[in-house]
Amino acid sequence: MSIHSSTGEKTGADKKGQPPRRAFLNGVAAATAAGALLKSQQLFGDTAIPSIRIPKAVTDSLAAPPRRADFSGRGITGAQVFANLCKDEDLGALFCAAGNYYIINEIAQVGIPSYGGRTEGGMCAAADGFTRATAEVAACSGTEGPGFAHMMMNIATAHFAHSPVLVLASNQSIQQEDSWKRIQFMYQQPATEGLKKFGKRITVPNRVYEYGAYAFRNLKSGVPDVVHLDFPIEVATERFQDPAKLWSLYTKEQYRSESRPCPGSKEMQQAIDVIGKAERPVLIAGQGIFARQAWDALMQAAEKHEMVVVGSGPVRGHFPDNHRLSGSLSNGALMSADLVIFVGQYHMPTPGEWTLPPGVKTIRVHPVQEDLGRNWPVDLGIVSDETLFMEALANGLPPKTRNSWVDEVAADRQKKEQANLELYGQFLKYTRDTNTLHPFVLLKELHDFLYKGDIDPKQTVTGWGGNMIGFCAMRWLRANRPAQEIPVVYQFGPMGPDLAMMFGAGVAVQRGIGPQAAYKGAPIVVVTGDAGMGFSLLELDTFAKYKVPVICIVYNNDSWGTFPFALSMDTPRALHMYLFQESIRYDKMAEELGARGEYVRTPEELRASLRRSYDAAAKQGYSTLINCQGMKEFNVDKLYPPGLSFAPEPGVGAVSH
């Protein structure tokens, strides 16, 4: 399938025949970008600083033939044994910063797509982003101590998003344990306690395959979550010439099963009867629907029996926001539900958190029995795989129409959209008065560009984070097909990994994996704040190195979004800790990292910039950072009312569950 540029023009997904980088910059990019990228600056006399470029060694390395090690000759190392197992499990990708050398080198060498970025933390977020965009397993890696420690925030983020991320780390020797010999030794496993499904420091070399199997059994069975393996040097470098030396060396078909729990016929009939009698049923399509790729069966059941559906989870779109049965923008109407059916809702809310009636009759379907009844009382609990349940439901439910219920939900959606437009009018006035972009106006412009212009509204994957900018993004970004939107802040609420996480999502789109297949090669968009820049701006280098086009929209209000707390808590001496230098040019920094940079202050400038940036990305594969100048005072509710906070849940904007 071809992808669409901002003018609706179809462009090839591959980059064959594209003009050279210089020609592109001369033709498309702003003069400032061209100047920064092309001119060799005179330093001292004849000494020149060369232009930024991707070294040939990178291209050559990516084109090098894969090689699978075996027991012949010198034998196979522990790292190679593990790499082969990862290959046999079709590990989707490895994201790492150099370190944990034996493991990452062999994973790359065996032919698993591997990506080296600027920080271990950023690459851990990228692995998370890849899994969110594909429902496939991805790995990240760091070295024993500092690299692993740098990953912690994003390991936790992945855990709270139930992402099947394989965390790999180590490189030090067990022999130096407790000795302070040399540097970097750190016993890691306690650090991920409470943040993983399974973890192991592999200390016996002969068991490296066995624990690899443990890892994938946990990653690919039941409810997904983080798995953490660390490989001391004795394990990674041990050589095996005899397969008999490796314990539990049997294939993936033998060390794990694809068998899934199936709903019993009696409880299935019970569910069908209860749903059939309901007048206003709401089906909450949780993360499990995405993880098990049950969206087609969900659609079939919903349309056949006219149930209102709301998607939830750390990735959105497994039920499209723009579908007539979507309740994702109808929180008011959801309060009319007389039955709620949770399917694959990994993080259950507690009663009182969601816009559902108090004490509403509830069915919950979950693949793990132990979780049924957690947080939310159930009238009927069913242990089942999400796909199997949805297929059984689609087959078992009779055709039915619920016109008045569907109309009620549609009317409420219109009301919500109208309210958003009224808010926009108010915020637009602030933008005009100050000649800076209010974040709500920024997101409305992006919304119109992505979903109401010439681009296929299902095409562009977006990711977002940040404080004030996040409150606006959650109200304007949409998911019209599976894995189209990634709320980076889901559940754990990290600030900053937005751009890095979307590198992984961008890789998934470039390679057209899973739900991204139809939009292979399309650009992605990330919305973040200036605070986020401190965490992951440098990953623009990684986007450029691997030619993954991103449009990174930075809301620049010269501060942490939470700075009003210094005022409201009457602690004026604390204020400086929340503020940055003003007018920092993130766009200029982007240019020096091999991307385009644009600086905008008005809706008109942003609109034009989006068009240029999208074209540069879709047609040429170039990334752009759009530095959107706002004002920190927009965050002060009393100065620029109304203040915004988290959107009502569930639906568009949900980040807690």
Binding site: G332, P357, P377, P642, P648
Partner: protein
């Protein structure tokens, strides 16, 4: 009330003995706050004396609150959502900042009145407050996390 408590809608539910046709209930509900609910069958009312604390009488919040409560009786709402005027009359009051809600029961259908009152309060906390410009109020008066409201 007990049914709601059993379904996890509120915690710490207690019922005081009925005296002079007045039944009083206490529970921990939204934002972990204690709510009292009084059923007076002589006066034919159900009342929650403090739904929201510390709301100035002349504030935009109180004005919006009254409008929201009134909107729940609008004939344009579907039957299953409307607070039916022929069955109950809902009113709010503000006494030194404490905003109360009262349902006057017109047809002895206390179950209906109770159900509508519980739904109304629930909607105030999950829909009206988060959906409106009240982040400061939620943080300062209801103990919401400062970062997210």
């Amino acid at each position: 009330m007990e049914d709601y408590a059993k379904r996890g809608v509120f915690r710490g539910f207690t019922a005081k003995p009925v005296r002079n046709s007045v039944a009083a209930f206490r529970m921990i509900w939204h934002r972990d706050r204690v709510f009292d609910l009084i059923v007076d069958t002589k006066k034919k009312i159900i009342r929650i004396p403090v739904v929201l604390p510390a709301v100035p009488v002349r504030s935009a919040l109180y004005k919006d609150f009254k409008a929201f409560v009134a909107s729940r009786q609008a004939p344009t709402l579907p039957d299953h959502r409307r607070i039916e005027k022929s069955k109950v009359r809902v009113s709010c009051a503000n006494v030194r900042g404490s905003v109360s809600l009262t349902m006057a029961v017109r047809d002895e259908d206390y179950a209906y009145a109770l159900q509508r009152l519980i739904h109304l309060v629930h909607e105030i906390f999950v829909s009206f407050l988060p959906g409106g410009p009240y982040r400061d109020y939620m943080v300062e008066q209801l103990g919401a996390p400062a970062e997210i409201g």
